[in-house]
Assembly symmetry: C2
Homo-oligomer: 438 residues x 2
């Protein structure tokens, strides 16, 4: 007998079907036993009556999270829809219950609850169980929608999807924060970003995007950092200025916001998530932002840079004055940007930006230097050695157009849309300084 | 002035436009200079006449692969479409030529040629230049189409896209062939496959897929192996048997074949690529395949296993007798499969398969053991220690449905569709034992 999905059952009132899934909960009412059965499409109430002897015996035996197959008759639910929305307006009168898998462990909490209400360590230590909770599980529906939406948006703009190596020969970009690996008879490193490869991609395809793992050996202990993330990268050639790059990123974020709002309605309600997308994302110079912070919030900066608190406040300001959850900060000083950043005409700032979303930086980007000599000189100016970048410099000997791009952190987007306390909650199996299991 | 893409120019005859791209070739005919200009959408012939003095001077100066902007009048081409298809039936009469970037290196070959005709090392050593050759570049159009098609197919079948960690705490599955990394104050490893994590995903989402990097420290020197690849993984719960898994994979390969045939028509012609997709992919037991090899090709096997030559021959047979470029080999012996493979009833074979495509294994899959005790016992039977797999075993204490899945090598699919000699040609920047640059 073919399995029926729970979401299809309401169309099958009066029919005998087989459902399969996990026991979300079981309630023994003396004579009647109620099982809430869960599959990937929903939850349904199963009623087991003593007359169906073998089913009844099995129902007495099952516990939460057992995997079962249940055959029976789909009926309209007496009293109609329950207060508990998920269970819906039908029920199954069980005729046969087969236990597929039993639970062999004590369950530390009840995953059927609406709110787990456990701390972050418990969430991560019991990941396999936790992910069965509907509200937690739904985070990854939003995450999957984000991945789809990003690809769709980039393809619509004629970006070519590429995959670049994560094992690299040198720890570049200054050298710090790379994980070292043993690669046969030599050392190699894990890529911190596909930066050099996506720039090479511009030379071949003009416009490229990549969805891939990046690895950062930063000993951070914050709610914003982990050591392995999925970056949504893009790079585009033949730009007139780095505004073109911001235009594309704005298009992408507008698309992501609208796809998630449309296709994850229920999840947004569950998390009270909303995304304020204005007509036009505000774009303000970093120096201007620092002035606003001082004037509006009495927050002074010693350097021309912005800290996490500043990012949070400038988003407050953008929301208040522009009705926007997004704000581009532009023209970061040369001193806080990588050597390949295109300097502005003044020589002190760069044609770069960060995109701040709901108080957190989600993307960093800008125009890159595309002339060989200028790039080589900048490497020297940064106290680095051109010979350490020979493969990279090679790209610029071959004729490169003006270009720029961004790296966009996928997990932070989901974290902020759903107001999760930590970015780790938006990752199936996060990796931090202390955690490389499960 | 806005840039016009070359593919849009034929609709703009009589208009003054700005094109931008790379100099594909330049021919100085004494009085007239012809430049073939290339952008991501095509190639167009630019005519430069001495009357336009500054343009003419710049045209004398440009060389292959310079990046230029050219303004001028779009005209119908005298004599109509050239033999050289790419250039098309229009030309641009240059009024202004601006050099954006010069080439600062000697070019070792002419990338404008239809066939580069260089060996694999040259292809890989000069990757940034080589990728500008149309025929090579087109490999990655097919590759991008594959990525899109795989995601579309999986989502249509309600698989949830997930991303799992590539840094893992233990070198499992036997322990060999893992790259070791230094992770803060301890050792860790690079994931060889998302196997354990996607099985965990079944517990949470029933059906999952992942497109991600996997790393294999295998010292191979073949045309089929590299040390870092992109795997197209999937895992599904509530299967009746491993036929369900093959059904899904067959659906996916059918979709990929049809998407690539439809959307990469020109590229398939260029590579004389075709894909024979039968009504139903043949599925034969490995032992049967070995009998066929002996009977039809006189090839004897000492063990119940198939080598690369056998895979090539069995595809020849499948093509001849079933009109199929695909063939599933099923029921591999326990001895050649990982410990988590579901044994067949006979205890000697497993509920597993390989999918062979045009002579090469592109996918491996099957049903997995889903009961805790059976899995623990199998780990012991394989001479491994259950305590080394405690995180993995944890999954099976929580109630798991019957499930199975596959790992599908993305690069080999493209290699075989386009009949590339080596899988490395299907990878932008391949990583092998000797090569971790560029």
């Amino acid at each position: 007998m073919e399995r029926t999905l729970i979401s299809d059952a309401p169309r099958m009132i009066g029919q005998y079907v087989k459902l399969a899934g996990w026991v979300n909960s079981r309630r023994d009412h003396g004579k009647l036993i109620f099982i809430d059965l869960r599959d990937r499409t929903g939850v349904v109430q199963v009623v087991v009556i003593p007359d169906k002897e073998s089913a009844y015996q099995n129902a007495k035996d099952v516990r939460s999270e057992f995997v079962v197959e249940i055959e029976g008759l789909v009926k309209e639910r007496p009293g109609g829809q329950s207060k508990e929305d998920r269970v819906g307006k039908i029920e199954l009168e069980a005729a046969k219950i087969t236990v597929i898998s039993r639970v062999e462990a004590e369950l530390p909490f009840d995953v059927a609850k609406n709110e787990l209400d456990v701390n972050l360590n418990t969430l991560l230590d019991n990941r396999n169980l936790v992910l069965r909770n509907k509200k937690i599980n739904d985070i990854f529906k939003v995450y999957a929608e984000l991945l789809k939406s990003y690809g769709d948006a980039m393809r619509e703009r004629q970006f070519r999807e590429i995959k670049t190596p994560k094992i690299v020969s040198a720890a570049t970009e200054g050298g710090a924060n790379f994980f070292k690996i043993r690669y046969f008879d030599r050392d190699a490193y894990l890529a911190q970003s596909p930066q050099f490869y996506k720039q090479a991609g511009v030379g071949a395809f003009e416009r490229v995007f990549e969805v891939g793992s990046v690895f950062r050996a930063e000993p951070h202990f914050t709610t914003r950092h982990v050591n392995e993330i999925i970056m949504l990268d893009a790079e585009m050639g033949f730009i007139d200025s780095f505004s073109d790059v911001m235009d594309q990123l704005e298009f992408v974020m507008r698309r992501i916001s609208s796809d998630i709002s449309q296709n994850c309605k229920e999840e947004l309600v569950e998390y009270s998530g909303e995304i304020l997308v204005p007509e036009k994302f505000p774009r303000i110079r970093l120096t201007e932002a620092l002035e606003i912070l001082e004037k509006e919030y009495g927050k002074k900066s010693e350097d021309i840079d912005i800290d996490p608190e500043g990012e949070r406040l400038i988003c407050e300001w953008a929301k208040k004055t522009h009705g926007s959850d997004f704000v581009f900060l532009t023209h970061y000083p040369v001193s806080v940007r990588p050597f390949y950043s295109m300097p502005s005409e003044d020589g002190q700032f760069t044609e770069t930006f960060d995109l701040i979303f709901k108080g957190v930086e989600i993307a960093s980007g800008g125009q890159r230097i595309h002339h060989y000599e200028q790039l080589k000189n900048n490497i020297i100016k940064f106290g680095l050695k051109p010979e350490d970048f020979s493969d990279y410099l090679e790209i610029f000997k071959l004729g490169m157009p003006a270009h720029g791009g961004w790296g966009l952190g996928s997990e932070r987007i989901v974290q902020k849309i759903l107001s999760l306390d930590s970015v780790k909650e938006a990752i199936l199996f996060p990796r931090d300084v202390k955690r490389i299991t499960p």
